[in-house]
Amino acid sequence: MKAFADLYLRLDATTSSAAKLQALRDYFSTAPAADAAWAVYFLAGGRPRQLVPTRVLRELACTLAGLPDWLFEESYQAVGDLAETISLLVPESHQVGDDGLAHWVEQHLLPLRGLPVEQLQQRLPPLWAQLDRPSLMLCLKLITGSFRVGVSKLLVTRALAQLAGLDAKRVAQRLVGYTDISHRPTAARYQQLVAPASDDEHDQRGGQPYPFFLAHPLQVPSEQFDALLGPPSEWQIEWKWDGIRAQVVKREGQLWVWSRGEELVTERFPELHSLTQTLPDGVVLDGEILVWKPGSSADELAVQPFALLQQRLGRKTLGKKLLSDAPVVLQAYDLLEWQGEDWRSRPQHARRRQLEQVLEEHPLAPVVLSPLLEGTDWADLARQREQSRSLGVEGLMLKQREALYGVGRTKDMGTWWKWKIDPFSVDAVLIYAQRGHGRRASLYSDYTFAVWDAPAGTPGRALVPFAKAYSGLSDDEMRKVDAIIRKTTVETFGPVRSVTPTLVFELGFEGIALSRRHKSGIAVRFPRMLRWRLDKPVEEADDLATLQALLA
């Protein structure tokens, strides 16, 4: 545990990729395989569900520290992280045990799940007493499923590849699905990750998908496209779908559906199960799962809002009504494997041609071919992009016709660009603030925004809250806003402060829908601050009518 805690501290202390890579290499070169297996799991984003209810942890911390509950809450508000707060409050232990990460996770932590409260209260204190402060914080992060450290999966992949003397792409391939909840990290699985390359590797992959190729945001004006991209004819152009990116894997008579988070989601989408029969073996499709309007024809663009898909994901069981009200399709746009052969190193246009042929020869009910867009020039395509919002898509995807299918967000084998439409935006007033977490701990950085309920000049008009946002400001702006919030506080309700309205921000968001859960009757998606409108007095912020107009 101590070794992994030291690794965490080293990774946390630096922003340099080279230093992080070195820290990872140092750790993996000495860690026993069983510990390394779990370390890869956590570093690559694996998270077991919460093992102990937060309430039990808090109560126990209060008891051990001899503090009243309100003082714990005050401390938590200042720290902004539960695991760190507890590790700072309970008496520090100086007798550190030397059990490894695997031992801790398998023998001490996982068995905690589902235990009655009284048992947890007995078991946890002697465990905590074996950990120094950094190890305790880490242990609590593992218990609460909140372990995060600034390391990308790519970096972990590179560290392992360097140590094992392998190509990073091979390690990335082996790592796909490693964090899925249905597998448990073991020494043997770690050894497979770093084993020498073998010829039969390809045949042994079971239902494993390929690492997803990701797009880069295109953020230059379209007038510069010719210079940057060349003519549109060099690009395969599609709509950018607003759904769940997925790979459908069909091998040896079995079907697997993987989400971009490398989670197995086969059970979530019974509509796709018929592919077990209709799709030939040795095929991997890449595409987007979307809710499609029931009863619409295959040719029309009948994509339904992401909110419907989200509702489906939130349900534990998928009832008949839900499946008939919100059926899904797969908009297929790439073919990664055909007849058991890896097609990723063939150019985009060749993969597309084969994909079209597959779908022609095997009419696959829930699978639709993502249509291509044609344009005489970029200006023409920019005009087509303007319809995005009314069609329910997020903009356009530009895929280099010669691009191979890369690993992650890379550009070395050709590029995918996402050319998204500009977000909706309104000028809103900051009315409540709460302190943030992590890097924003102790700073008032999470805000509630409001618009006016009536046009300017209406006597007695009021501000109605409609969105919360915490991202988009620079550190410097955040510090200034924090200072203003502290000076203009009207009331404090627990962790929340209400302020005299003085601050106006341009708020951006991706979608807008009617909502019964919000006071304003409106819910927005992905709200964030686009800029601080220092030039705008509060009276000139937008009103509800502006939001309602966006709904239309």
């Binding site: 946390d12 202390a13 630096t14 922003t15 520290a65 503090l67 009243p68 309100w70 003082l71 005050e74 401390s75 200042a78 720290v79 902004g80 992280d81 760190e84 707060t85 700072l88 409050l89 520090e92 977490h437 992590g438 890097r439 924003r440 701990a441 102790s442 700073l443 550190d475 510090r479 924090d482 200072a483 502290r486 000076k487």
Partner: protein, 338 residues
């Protein structure tokens, strides 16, 4: 009778007709220590502890009307007996003891309870009413021992030396910088200081505090190999300025009590955070309050509401004093001298 009340100009002693650390100009000011939020310009008459005279003159001007008083010596003014007692915060820092008609109040200014060699150690002074700060008034704040921190700073410096990198340590120029200098292992390499630090070093040395030899960083040419072995002390304001360029590839660190929290450490964006404060931590505050035997506690700048509520729950009569020291309540973001 209340011997100290809060007035718009600052904390005021009505029977003695003087102020303690006023934030607006007044006729008579008793100054607890030389940090900018406690010692301000424009007062008619200053009274401070003798060891702090050099600091006050160097910061407020050589010509201020300054009267000094050795620690522990009593002075009678309008029937109020006044004496100054070490607060352990910085050189010359003092608690102000006031006695009037059998009633004793102590205003502690800023204080630290762990002794260090750059100033007289905190001395508990029995009183009926104790005025305390609350900068780190949350139970999360428990300091590691300073010997542990100095060892960590020296180890960091040594490791950087081995890699041929300068070690730039940001800290407040008055108090913290001298405390660090005193704790450094000068055999590791040369010690350089920013222009804001050197004048204060001079005052400390003149007051008899031992500090290792320091050189003004501006005197060292840009490519001098000496830079790659050096430890550089600079105020936080120097971070990100062009002044930093002379050090080439360097490692940086920040020394402050706020570095205890991961969030503040990360926000600083430095390689290392060293938890070193000139203020009392939570156990220190409670210990100091207990030592005075006071039944009434007035809480100033920091986590005022938290400490007031906690002390009341412990059976003391605790109240808040609104002041303009530090920043208002829990302003970690602003990070005053800490």
């Amino acid at each position: 009778m209340d011997l100290v009340i809060a007035r718009p100009e600052g904390l005021y002693c009505p029977p003695g007709d003087f102020y303690i650390d006023p934030w607006r100009p007044v006729d008579r000011a008793v100054i607890t220590h030389g940090h900018g939020d406690h010692a301000r310009i424009g007062n008619g008459h200053y009274l401070a502890a003798s060891p702090g005279a050099g600091i006050l003159r160097s910061r407020l001007g050589q010509d201020i009307n300054l009267q000094t008083l050795p620690y522990g010596e009593r002075l009678l003014h309008h029937g109020v007996t006044l004496s100054l007692h070490p607060a352990g915060h910085v050189l010359g820092s003092a608690q102000v003891r006031l006695e009037y008609q059998g009633e004793v109040w102590v205003a502690s200014g800023d204080y630290k309870v762990e002794p260090d060699a750059t100033c007289a150690p905190f001395e508990p002074v029995p009183c009926h009413t104790f005025i305390t700060e609350s900068t780190f008034g949350l139970p999360i704040y428990r300091w590691p021992s300073q010997s542990e921190i100095f060892a960590a700073i020296n180890a960091w410096w040594r490791a950087n030396c081995a890699q041929g990198k300068a070690s730039v340590l940001f800290c407040y120029a008055f108090g913290k910088a001298q405390r660090i200098l005193h704790g450094l292992d000068a055999s590791i390499g040369p010690i350089l200081v920013h222009g804001a630090v050197e004048p204060l070093n001079r005052v400390y040395r003149e007051a008899g505090v031992y500090l290792p030899e320091t050189r003004y960083a501006g005197d060292i040419p840009r490519n001098d190999p000496l830079l790659r072995q050096a430890l550089v002390l600079a105020p936080p304001s120097a971070g990100g300025s062009s002044w930093m360029r002379r050090f080439g590839d360097y490692s940086d660190a920040f020394a402050s009590g706020w570095m205890l929290l991961r969030g503040t450490r990360r926000r600083r964006g430095v390689d290392r955070g060293f938890v070193l404060s000139d203020h009392a931590d939570w156990p220190g505050l409670l210990w100091a309050i207990g030592q005075t035997g006071a039944e009434r506690v007035m809480v100033t700048h920091g986590s005022v509401n938290v400490l007031v509520r906690y002390l009341n729950e412990q059976g003391l009569d605790a109240r808040a004093f609104a002041t303009e020291y530090g920043e208002e309540d829990d302003a970690v973001a602003v990070e005053p001298d800490a």
